[in-house]
């Protein structure tokens, strides 16, 4: 880890002291949670090159399993752990049959998966509470420590995110990360070298699902309320937009994209429906003019300055 990164994390730890008011810290906390899910999406889409619009569905599974477990009396961390296992299982169930598919077909299969999860959350009322969701979920905590304030949540979530970033960086530099990128770049060539590309894609999807479930489970414990609409297709598209805005395949990009697209709708709340028009137009503009996202654009700018 480079020194400027450490400084960055240290500055981030001070953020709640600078923001002061509760609302701003709440938005910041949500940005951390989104960043976790986007970081997961980066494994499967950024590295392994596979479209995944099921990320919100995995987050929903994580949130509901955590909520149900904690409400049933399990310690929070144990409920969260169970959620990660269930989400990993769901990713296998989705990925095994569908990861052979390419581009549009995989996109449709994952959208279908997201829709099915959403419909189950909405209609399995005896368990999920239907459209009114689950309330009074026990807060994030381990042992006797329980997260009480938004600032405490920030520190806990930041620590989790830091760990998640560390793991993502390790994976990226490992054999597995190189295998994912080889699969994305030239799947047939990669498989000719003896690489089991289907297995690589499955592991990438599983990592994505576990990150999403971690994000969803912590969301359930932080907001202490979950409802189906928080995990619908709109959220899946939003997570995807965050990845593309920041820079597909870049860990720093994931964090930037999540931060920008979490704060922007709050800051531009006065625009109402116009915000969504602006958001759509912004996504189109990013794809057209900055397809490698903020990080890619910054890198190109840096290179030009360095050369010139």
């Amino acid at each position: 880890m480079r020194p400027w990164m450490l400084i960055g994390w240290a500055l981030a730890a001070c953020l709640p002291l600078l923001l002061g008011s509760g609302y701003a810290v709440q938005v910041a906390d949500l940005a951390l949670l989104n960043a976790l899910a986007v970081l997961g999406l980066n494994f499967v889409t950024g590295y392994a090159g596979q479209v995944n619009f099921g990320q919100a569905g995995f987050a929903g599974i994580g949130a509901y399993v955590t909520a149900l477990g904690a409400l049933a009396g399990l310690p929070f961390w144990l409920a969260l752990l169970a959620a990660l296992v269930v989400a990993a299982g769901a990713s296998l169930a989705l990925g095994l049959p569908t990861l052979r598919l390419r581009s549009f077909y995989l996109a449709m299969a994952t959208i279908g998966f997201g829709e099915i999860v959403h419909l189950v959350l909405l209609h399995w009322e005896s368990v999920t509470g239907g459209s009114s969701g689950l309330r009074q979920i026990p807060p994030i905590g381990i042992g006797r420590f329980v997260v009480g304030t938004d600032a405490q949540a920030w520190w806990v979530l930041l620590a989790v995110l830091a760990l998640a970033v560390l793991v993502a960086g390790r994976v990226r530099r490992s054999w597995l990360g190189r295998a994912m990128i080889a699969t994305a770049d030239a799947e047939i060539a990669a498989s000719l070298t003896g690489l089991d590309t289907l297995r690589v894609k499955l592991v990438a999807l599983m990592l994505a699902a576990v990150y999403a479930a971690l994000s969803g489970g912590l969301y359930a414990g932080y907001v202490r309320y979950v409802s189906p609409d928080q995990f619908g297709n709109q959220q899946a598209v939003l997570l995807f937009s965050m990845l593309v805005l920041g820079g597909t395949g870049s860990i720093g990009g994931c964090l930037i994209g999540a931060a920008v697209l979490t704060v922007l709708p709050e800051a531009l709340r006065f625009l109402h429906a116009w915000y969504m028009v602006l958001y759509g137009a912004g996504v189109v503009a990013i794809v057209l003019f900055m397809p490698d996202g903020v990080v890619g654009a910054a890198r190109r700018l840096g290179r030009r300055l360095g050369v010139g």
């Binding site: 889409t45 090159g49 479209v51 429906a273 759509g280």
Partner: protein, 288 residues
């Protein structure tokens, strides 16, 4: 029971039209348009605006709607497809989704969130057939879908333009090399595809109400149908559409009304796993 068949086939015909539009765009541009449902919604609102707000007769309102939708299709192609050639698929997919978000929220701003209705163009007594009742509008929807299928099939196989379109789909660079004006061909495909979405919109608006969010679910059903029928197989799309409409109607009645939408997605995922080329295979882009 016969009533279920009628309502299932009617909605199925709308699914089929959405799928036909998707196929046409896919067959030329090799892009799945994830905003097809939102184009449908715009078509429904344009027909309502022309007929209800401005008092045009139905035939004029429909003609104007289709023309406007064709134009919108060309704009769509210029903004969301042409500059993206060669970009990774996930960016192309995201762009069409973003176009859908823009259309949906513009509709929300212009026409408001409340559902509005379009009067049915044909008035007449419902028919009684084998214990069921078919309204004029239901007949109109099914008849128009069949006509659209026949016209499109003839267009794709018999007309010069249809052949050019299929050639472009097969190999864009080769098509350009032999002198096909690729952009013009693909713009035409988008115009027809968007027009078909508009047609579906103005047909569905008198049956159900129009609202800005109506496109999401109808668009997704269109994909399911396109996948089941085989991406690129025109009759397959119509058979798939009618089939899905029927299955949904019966599933809602005999299995669970709440999970009727889930049925479609389960069928699609199962189909993608077992026969990703669809029941009838992909034909439009295959042979010229």
């Amino acid at each position: 029971m016969p009533q279920l068949v009628v309502s299932g086939l009617t909605l199925g015909a709308v699914y089929a039209l959405v799928a036909l539009g998707l196929l046409l765009i896919f067959s030329a541009a090799r892009v799945v348009n994830f905003a097809q449902g939102q184009l449908l919604m715009i078509g429904a609102y344009l027909a309502i605006a022309a007929q209800v707000r401005h008092g045009l007769p139905a035939w004029a309102a429909y003609g104007l709607t289709l023309a406007a939708m064709a134009l919108l299709g060309v704009v769509f192609m210029l903004v969301a497809w042409r500059p993206l050639r060669g970009r990774p698929t996930h960016l192309v997919i995201l762009t069409t989704i973003a176009m859908g978000i823009i259309l949906e929220n513009l509709a929300l701003i212009v026409w408001g969130p409340l559902p509005v209705s379009l009067p049915a163009p044909l008035v007449g007594r419902p028919w009684r057939v084998a214990g069921g009742v078919i309204t004029m509008q239901q007949m109109f929807v099914m008849g128009t879908t069949m006509l659209a299928l026949v016209a499109l099939s003839l267009f794709m196989t018999r007309s010069r333009f249809g052949v050019l379109m299929r050639a472009t789909a097969q190999d864009l660079d080769m098509a350009r090399l032999v002198g096909i004006r690729v952009d013009r061909t693909i713009a035409a495909a988008f115009a027809i595809g968007s027009g078909l979405a508009g047609l579906a919109g103005l047909l569905v608006a008198p049956l159900y109400l129009a609202e800005p969010t109506m496109g999401g679910s109808l668009g997704l059903k269109g994909f399911v149908v396109a996948v089941v029928g085989g991406f690129g197989n025109l009759p397959g799309a119509v058979v798939g559409g009618l089939g899905l409409g029927l299955i949904e109607a019966f599933a809602a009645r005999y299995v669970s009304a709440e999970y009727r939408d889930a049925v479609a997605f389960i069928i699609m995922i199962a189909m993608l796993c077992v026969r990703p080329r669809g029941l009838f295979g992909e034909t439009v882009g295959e042979r010229v």
